[in-house]
Homo-oligomer: 464 residues x 2
């Protein structure tokens, strides 16, 4: 079918001006934040309703046209890239609040709603949507769910998965399913909702979601602590967790701090220099909670796990301590980093990190590693910086070798080769490091159940 | 195959004294708490390891023998009943702690561990396993996971689903899968772990689970509040939820309180008599939290949502207030109750409850209804008591008519016909009130993927 024929056929189904074929649209809607693959979609469709999406899916199935569901396109694994003549289904116009109920503390939205708008909506109701990450200003809730987005508050609030009370989806076979309907308790057979969460659009298209909201946090307080070793970071985590409900527990290495402070002309949080830093956040709801946190801090100092520390006295200070962690990614982007998103059991982090460090140091002595991540969840962002005198292509070639080895180490630690970024095109060749051949076979069989024509985001996650 | 042949074949595979054929074993291990169906298993097997379970499943698949996985057999939906010549796989001897890690705050146990033992283990480590319910002294963790058990702390801690970090399972096809391996963050394709949670043994047998633990609650404080209407109960819920992190929010009707007080010779919590009572629990960690709770209480009094209230000043008092709610089930068991376990959106509870009340009052004026439940989760336990002068058979026949009508009302409210008890044999004919024909078709297809021989708990949940 030519692009023009597709446009005609779909507009006959869902109305005029709902398909674009122009070069600008093909370029914008064919890519995500990965920028590795050249976008080459056949056409771009703009549904306005679940019925529109269903009509498009049924048309695609009948005509064997591959579909790529497209949200905010902020993914880092090329899950929403259309590089193979696909029809892209853009959710931008399905961005409305459908229902809100203050007693249930739940909101039903169309899948194209931007994360930040959902956060804002919750705030306006005196409530809180706690899943937060760098791309919240562009990412859409349907995409968040399809990739089970994580972020900086997982230690307290969990992943996107934990906030989805219900989903409306169109399966690859063209059926509309209403999954769980917003209920808290519903033990009536397999919970298909959880299959669609994190499925990266390979089973169908999420069109609506019912999202749980919670009360806003009170007096968020941030500590940055200087710690000599990764073992100490773990001791600090354990000590605080036993006394305080943490809302975040991040870490970064000293070279990360050096770079951020220099690049953004910030002050160091304190004079002492240590190999690692822990950033932790908690609700200092009452003075007693604050006293307890200070006691733990003093205990950590006495034990030698912490050499120095700084605590926020205001929201502004909390924000400025967060900057030390949040600016790392942007800061090192100027040094052509090779990035990986790994996780292992929290308790295995020090050993795992050392093994990766040692391997890189031995094999490529010139490579600088910058570590940071959501250490309270076992999620490490490994960044290898390009030596100034090395060509980019040569660097990335060496990094591919690093990747294979790092994933093999990850497998040995029973870890994940994609903690929060998903699989898409970027990680699909490495999926076997985290999932067994049997699991992969079951996954493919499940895909066949929901998408028998293999039209839903084909080639993403795995090849059918 | 005769029972003796099965015994011989399995003991050849996993060792002697691992299969029982005696009448006592057939009777004990063939039933659960429902006592509706007559147990009629063919044989009872007692595996000691995942390898044993795998050998049994492969043997059963080859020889087309139906298997019933059997935990603590405390289910209320006949999910673990063996009434059709099945081979029962008893997990009682797989009850060990395999691994515990204080930094991860996770414990890996065999599926046959009793819930209370897990709670006790956590306590001994200074930690807490918060999923709790009446049958915790007998139920096993594998069964809890297979039925996604709920209970009295769901409003804060969620269902069993929310505490499972990893599963080891043997599928109906005989494969061993290690699902999620205890990781907090792992976005590497479909999360098959969530399919096995709540699958009631129809996809395979859970042999090990990695369970998340948390810090123990501090100074749990209980309030019982007298509320004139169900709308008031909802206002009270909303008011408290905005200021205090509740660990429980239960309700019961005045006739429930009357019966408990009379039967157990307890004191009423206060003199005022109201149609409904709310029981709420929270961590009074600090005086400030307690002050805030008292302010909300006073606000509720001023608004007329609450007429009177009582608050625990000690652990003993907290326990005695809990008794008013927890003794209901046992108290009314002497009046031959017809029970249902329903849920709707929390906000729909008053309207739904009134509609059911009105229907029963109009159709069967002699029937007394006792309501109680986990109202903070929208989970209502509907109990209809047998009139003293009515024969049991006639009563249950009329109740079947009530059931059909109540489920139809539940469907109209987009609710669940089994909030926490599961489907099993008891609810399978009513599953269509909560799941669409399309959903049921997908569920059956998924079952085929994991259990192509249809040997895993056949006839439970639905017919293949």
């Amino acid at each position: 079918m030519t692009p023009e024929q597709i446009k005609q056929a779909i507009e006959d189904l869902i109305g005029t001006d709902r398909v674009r074929l122009d070069g600008e649209a093909l370029d914008i809607y064919g890519r995500d934040w990965t920028k590795i693959h050249t976008p080459r979609p056949r056409a771009i469709a703009f549904p306005r309703s679940t019925e529109d999406v269903q009509a498009i899916v049924r048309f695609a199935r009948e005509n064997k046209i591959a579909l790529v569901p497209s949200g905010g396109r902020t993914g880092l694994s090329a899950g929403a890239v259309a590089a193979n003549d696909e029809l892209v289904v853009v959710m931008d116009y399905m961005n409305k609040v459908i229902d809100f109920n203050p007693v249930d503390r739940s909101v039903t939205v169309q899948a194209g709603m931007i994360t930040e708008q959902l956060q804002k909506f919750a705030e306006d109701q005196g409530l809180y949507y706690p899943v937060d990450f760098a791309s919240a200003g562009s990412s859409q809730i349907g995409g968040n769910i399809s990739t089970n987005a994580g972020g900086i508050k997982v230690i307290k609030y969990g992943m996107t998965r934990d906030w989805v009370l219900g989903l409306k989806v169109v399966t690859g076979a063209g059926d509309v399913l209403e999954l769980n309907k917003g209920l808290i308790k519903n033990n009536t057979g397999y919970d298909l909702r959880h299959l669609f969460i994190g499925a990266e659009g390979t089973l169908g298209i999420i069109t609506e979601a019912t999202i749980k909201l919670t009360r806003p946090p009170k007096n968020l307080t941030v500590m940055v602590l200087g710690t000599p070793t990764m073992q100490d970071v773990m001791q600090v985590l354990k000590a605080f967790q036993s006394q305080v409900d943490l809302t975040a527990f991040e870490f970064f290495s000293n070279n990360a701090l050096d770079k951020v402070v220099a690049h953004h002309q910030l002050q160091r949080p304190f004079d002492s220099v240590t190999d690692y830093y822990a950033l932790l956040e908690f609700e200092a709801e009452t003075e007693e909670v604050m006293d307890r946190a200070m006691q733990v801090f003093e205990h950590c100092m006495e034990e030698g796990w912490v050499e120095d520390g700084s605590i926020s006295q205001s929201e502004a200070q909390a924000q400025s301590l967060w900057s030390l962690r949040e600016f790392i990614s942007e800061t090192i982007s100027h040094e052509t980093p090779y990035k990986n998103d790994l996780s292992v059991l929290v308790s295995k982090v020090p050993e795992f990190l050392k093994e990766v460090d040692d391997f890189v140091a031995e094999t490529y002595p010139g490579f600088e590693i910058v570590w940071f991540g959501h250490i309270g969840d076992g999620n490490l962002h490994l960044n290898i910086l390009k030596p100034k005198d090395m060509e980019k292509d040569a660097f990335f070639e060496k990094c591919h070798h690093v990747s294979d080895k790092v994933f093999a180490i990850t497998q040995r630690y029973a870890g994940s080769v994609s903690a929060e970024h998903g699989v898409g095109l970027v990680k699909k060749d490495f999926l076997h490091f985290s999932r067994s051949p049997e699991e992969l076979a079951y996954m493919k069989a499940i895909m066949q159940v929901f998408d028998p024509g293999n039209i839903m985001n084909p080639g993403k996650m795995f090849d059918a």
